[in-house]
Amino acid sequence: MKHGRYPFILSFLALPVGLYAWLVILPFAQAFQISLTDWSGSSNSFEYIGFDNYVNLFKDERLVLPALRHTGIILVVLPVVTIALGLFFAFMLNLGGRVRRGRIEGVRGARFHKIVYFFPQVLSVAIIGILWKQVYAPENFGGLITGALTAVGLPAPVNGFLADTRFVLAAVIGVLVWSAVGFYLVFFSSAMASIPRDLYEAAVIDGAGRGPMFFRITLPLLWDSVQTAWIYLSIVALDVFVLIYMMTPERGGPDAASEVVGGVIWKYAFNHGEQAFASALGVVLFFAALSLAVVSLRFGRRERIEF
């Protein structure tokens, strides 16, 4: 089998590696290079200006600074809320049922719940955007929430939730959580299924309630999964843009109240013709993602419990 080994390896790797290098690695490398110039993107002339773009990023109070703030908020809220809900629902599905003859049961209809919860995960962002834009719409456009609030006599924002600087970011985060929870429910649920049942049955005999069971048995054994979920959701949070593009006024408004880093990169690159500035912001985003992954892998690590 030694014979023809290297020609074989080469023939199998050439195309995938070549395509990947040409269309993924090279454009990213070029983006790093562009970020050190003053290139507009349309002309052919540019000069290297060092790190000026990076310095100017943090002086842009109109778009970049609000975007960094909002992306920061999403980065904290989205993983915390999604993981909490995912764990809670997964625990309920697997262990929220009755105790019968010393055995804890899952709730009835667990399969049905999983199917329903997971469904938003397979819908495209375009569909989710259209759906929720109408749910949040002002009353005179037939919004669901404003209509329901008015129907029971509660006040509702006159222009709907998305055209109101107070609600728009929370509304978008709500949609992000809505579409992500099902995925993490299924994810945590399959991790929980691998925890031996006798651990819980021993806890029942010792008279432990569900709260201690969750915090003393489930959570420690699921720590690896929680950590993975955290990294995934952080990357999702940093990449949030399409939903904002689809749903919000001025694609980040009103008054930059839902501006995020991805959206600002988009605006500078494709609307304002400031390619170099946009690339610098993209590079910042890249390093943010990278350091987040490294940090959570480093500090999230705990002693692994074998079971």
Binding site: L15, H113, F119, L123, A148, F187, I265
Partner: protein, 303 residues
């Protein structure tokens, strides 16, 4: 469950009830919790069902009804919305465009991804680790950063606004995850079968196509599902790379265009009908394959 409740309820009126309750201490707590957990689970289930069902209902209303009576049922089934979405909104056309691209992009992703992953998993050679980590690192790249250089790259080779260009870009951007996942999968396959095939005189190529690929079927199915859903839902890449001819758009793009037009023309009935039309094939595929889809998508997260 119904058969169990009767005998359990009976002793409650008994003299010995308190004693029994103490004896089975976890039981009442379990019952309260059961109601509590069912309540919360149903609350979220309704939060998923209601907006989707509401849009389906709204797609049968006239635009005037949608604005004035959002919470009411449609007065009559207004099928004209669907006719509008199909003919003026071109949903059927976008659908075919997307299928046309994805037949090639998914097949290409799987073939190239499996080839690279197989070599990386089962052959030792200098540079193996570098290539492997090179692919894995691609999962961290924010796609925004590459959009503009990518646009220029395709422009230089005249592949901008072509399906060929989009297909190769889809393949390139799906490779990191596909290679990462399949490498792990190929490593878990038993070596015994491969060795037996080699003894029988199989070469490297026959070993891959006739022995290893069939053995890797579960992994290939999972990651195919992952890629189908991922590429079907792509939004940014076609928006940038396929911007010129609106009628060539992918389905997500086409829906976004419809949403934009609806903003001017105010025909929200047709927009919702278009959204429902785009949802139907996904819904059917989801119900049929939900087990595989859930396994395929979450398998990706378990490393």
């Amino acid at each position: 469950m119904a058969t169990d409740t009767a005998p359990e309820a009976a002793p409650a009126t008994d003299e010995t009830a308190p004693a029994r309750a103490r004896q089975q201490a976890p039981k009442p707590e379990g019952n309260v919790l059961n109601v509590f957990s069912q309540g919360f689970l149903w609350l979220w289930a309704l939060m998923v069902i209601i907006p989707v069902a509401w849009i389906v209902l709204s797609s049968f209303k006239t635009t005037r009804e949608i604005a004035s009576n959002p919470l009411a049922l449609p007065e009559a089934m207004h099928w004209a919305n669907y006719v509008n979405a199909w003919t003026n909104g071109n949903i059927g056309g976008y659908f075919l465009n997307t299928v046309q691209v994805m037949v090639f992009s998914v097949a290409g992703t799987m073939l190239l991804g499996a080839m690279a992953a197989y070599v990386l998993a089962r052959y030792e050679f200098p540079g193996n680790r570098v290539i492997y980590f090179g692919f894995a690192a691609g999962m961290m790249f924010p796609v925004f950063l590459a959009l503009f250089p990518l646009f220029k790259t395709l422009q230089n080779v005249s592949l901008l606004n072509t399906y060929t260009g989009l297909v190769i870009v889809y393949i390139a951007y799906s490779l990191p995850f596909t290679v990462f996942f399949l490498t792990a999968f190929f490593r878990t396959l038993p070596t015994g079968v491969a060795e037996a095939a080699v003894v029988d005189g199989a070469g490297h190529y026959r070993l891959f196509f006739q022995v290893m690929l069939p053995m890797a079927k579960p992994g290939l199915i999972a990651i195919t599902i992952f890629n189908v859903i991922g590429q079907w839902n792509q939004f940014l890449l076609p928006l940038v790379l396929l911007g010129r001819n609106p009628e060539d758009a992918m389905i997500s793009q086409g829906l976004a265009n419809l949403a934009l037009r609806q903003g001017y023309e105010g025909d929200s009935g047709a927009l919702f009908a278009g959204t429902v039309l785009a949802m139907i094939p996904i819904f059917i595929a989801y119900i049929l394959f939900q087990r595989q889809i859930q396994a395929g998508l979450t398998a990706g997260a378990i490393k």
